[in-house]
Amino acid sequence: MQIEWLSFLTDPVLRAPTLGCMLMGLAAGVVGVVIFLRKESLLGESLSHAAFPGAILGAFVGGLLGSDEDLSSLIILAGAAFTAYLSIFFIRWLVTRLRIHSDAALCFTLAATFGIGVTLASHMQFSDPALYRNMLALLYGQAATMTDFHVYLYGALAAVVILLAALFRKEIQITSFDRTYASSLMLPVKIIEAVFFALAVLAVIIGIRSVGVVLMSAMLIAPPAAARQFSNRFTTLLFLSGIFGILSGYLGNILSVTGSQELSLLFPNTRLSLPTGPVIVTISALLCFGALLFAPERGLASRAWRIARFRYKCLRENILKCIWRHTKDYSTTIPLLQEHLNATSLTLLIALHHLKQEGWLEKNGKGSWKLTSDGIVKAAKIVRLHRLWEVYLADYLGIGAERVHRSAEEMEHIITPELEASLTRLLKDPKVDPHKQPIPAADTGKTL
């Protein structure tokens, strides 16, 4: 089916939910960075559940006042913020006064506050079914009910979040990493922490309508965890994490709307739909997972690729070294190589072809390979590095001659030309290694 990417930002019906979710992602992403760096990812879980009873109280009060749609949304947010903030004090009381470990305190708080919320919600079940349905929508969010008013509201709240984060960037950074140091700088640690908690509460309540209280904490974890894969700098993290959050909100809306349309075609009379909140969370988790796997520096796949490339380079150098050391006429075959190297025939074949391309080897009849003149110098160089390192270990670090070979096996692939030059100077260009083997000369690769 055709997805109209831009229509989600302009269409009068789709615009408000999409923008609302994007603003939620932005705020959650920015605040999430601080929570992430403080290693308090589970705080968001407790805060979001604690927002539930407050949101319901807010809805109840709004209903009593007979306020219109917009005002009651505001009251719901205020109530949610109030109980979420209360829960912070409660958790702190549990941890400091009653010496309960924070892990248990967080868990108890989220279960208890959620229970209170469920009790309050059930109060409405029969007296005001419509209101009750709206409250249940707070569990997993109901982005579709957002209006332009919500967009302005979340825009304002997100602006507050970004402003606070920008203003207190340095202070929050210092306080989060090192409280003692922050106190020694005469920073008002208590006030800064209060600002941080206010930020966390704001981020949570912005998400109530789009993602819901049960899943909101994911939006505080996934974007910063993804951003962390690309940068170490606090400001960059804030920026990237916000972008990831916005992206999750945007893509989540598109997927949920188009997916729901597909479903209604498949099952015309079930009124089945893809709930927006869970879809947004799933997408942000997938983005994070992708970053954990493929981020250029720290991603798992990138790390594995780097390791594999280095191993392959070592193998190629070992082949050259092997031919130089173990053959008379500098020619070899795969079975001969396998006597000394632990590699499959296929790997060796690929490596040999690669070496031929690089000009170190030439074909020498069927299944046989020979070092070129450049290859001889190159191989001698590797042997030279190996033996230089052995001399260094034996003479300068006093390591026994029988124990230096292993380290040299690794170092021969790493030693740079500068390091080789310094070693040559330091060791006064030695001619034999600790095992009395000759060391090839630096430029010609000839041995005495």
Partner: protein, 308 residues
């Protein structure tokens, strides 16, 4: 006809006391009694493992398990679809234990292989799996309200079979704790000594997580997957305010949990009779347990001030 209709809090216990004879001789069980029985049994299970979870600082892991179990439920549903989501409790048990272990492995994979910090790994694993679970369950059951039921619980839908299941799970928990009490204590308090004596702390961690998984399954119909955590933590935390002896801790937790179950059901009945408001019994039970905890905590804090 429910004998508890229109009873107040105290009348409730009167009626219950009078009916004890019929109940013990296998008379028909009323829905309120069924609720008390299921909640008490889940509370017993929770009280047996809660103290160990708290002492091992594993409660958030229990929270993670209670979320991810949804995936297991969805998969069990895939294996044998039916109109009633709750028709296959035995299958759920197996699926829950498997997903519980899978959660632990996935979290471990995130921390050690993907090098994500531990707290974020836990948080990311359970929230994303829960979101996925909600999507799966919604699509598979084609029931848009299923996600709500899963977290809210519904005591009114309980059947007698739920009580048998809860009893079985409580019995399993009792047997495991009795059998391995020494090992659990040792691996909780002194890992090094446990290893040197040949007990694997990892094995007992996994065993404990398996117990959490089956306990959550036994309770999720009654109180929903999130409020089971209250039955796991609130009684144990309250007991910790009173005592520091492990055996007493477990016994007190069981007692507090059962009191919570009785009071929760009686109180919601009272509110229905007097005010004509049908509150969620699970929610009321959690509120009662929370209230008991806060009361005990305040008394303790007040006393320590007084003692100075």
């Amino acid at each position: 006809m429910n004998p508890y209709t229109d009873t107040t809090f105290w009348q409730f216990f009167n009626v219950l006391f009078q009916r004890l004879g019929t109940l013990l001789t296998g008379g028909p069980i009323a829905s309120d009694e069924l609720q008390i029985a299921v909640l008490s049994l889940v509370a017993i299970s929770g009280a047996l493992i809660g103290p160990f979870l708290i002492l091992r600082k594993m409660t958030m892991l229990a929270n993670a398990l209670s979320h991810t179990i949804l995936i297991g439920i969805a998969l069990a549903f895939l294996v044998s679809p039916s109109d009633d989501l709750y028709a296959h409790l035995p299958l759920f048990m197996v699926a829950a234990v498997l997903t519980g272990l899978a959660t632990a492995f996935i979290t471990e994979f995130f921390t050690s292989t993907l090098r994500l910090q531990a707290d974020a790994s836990t948080g990311l694993t359970f929230t994303s799996l829960f979101a996925l679970g909600i999507l799966l369950v919604t699509l598979l059951t084609r029931n848009a309200h299923i996600g709500t039921e899963i977290v809210m619980g519904n005591v009114d839908a309980l059947q007698i079979s739920d009580m048998y299941w809860a009893a079985l799970i409580a019995a399993i928990n009792i047997v495991i704790i009795l059998l391995f009490f020494k090992e659990y204590t040792l691996t909780t308090f002194d890992k090094a000594l446990a290893v040197s004596l040949g007990f694997s702390p990892a094995f007992f961690s996994y065993l404990l997580m398996t117990q959490v998984s089956i306990t959550v399954v036994s309770g999720f119909r009654a109180v929903g997957v999130l409020m089971v955590l209250a039955l796991l933590t609130a009684p144990a935390l309250t007991a910790r305010l009173i005592t520091h002896k492990l055996k007493h801790l477990i016994l007190y937790s069981i007692l507090i949990g059962i009191i919570g179950a009785f009071m929760g059901v009686a109180l919601s009945r009272h509110i229905l009779s007097v005010q004509n408001i049908a509150l969620s019994t699970a929610g009321v039970t959690v509120c009662v347990l929370t209230f008991i905890f806060i009361l005990a905590a305040l008394i303790k804090v007040g006393r320590s001030k007084f003692a100075r």
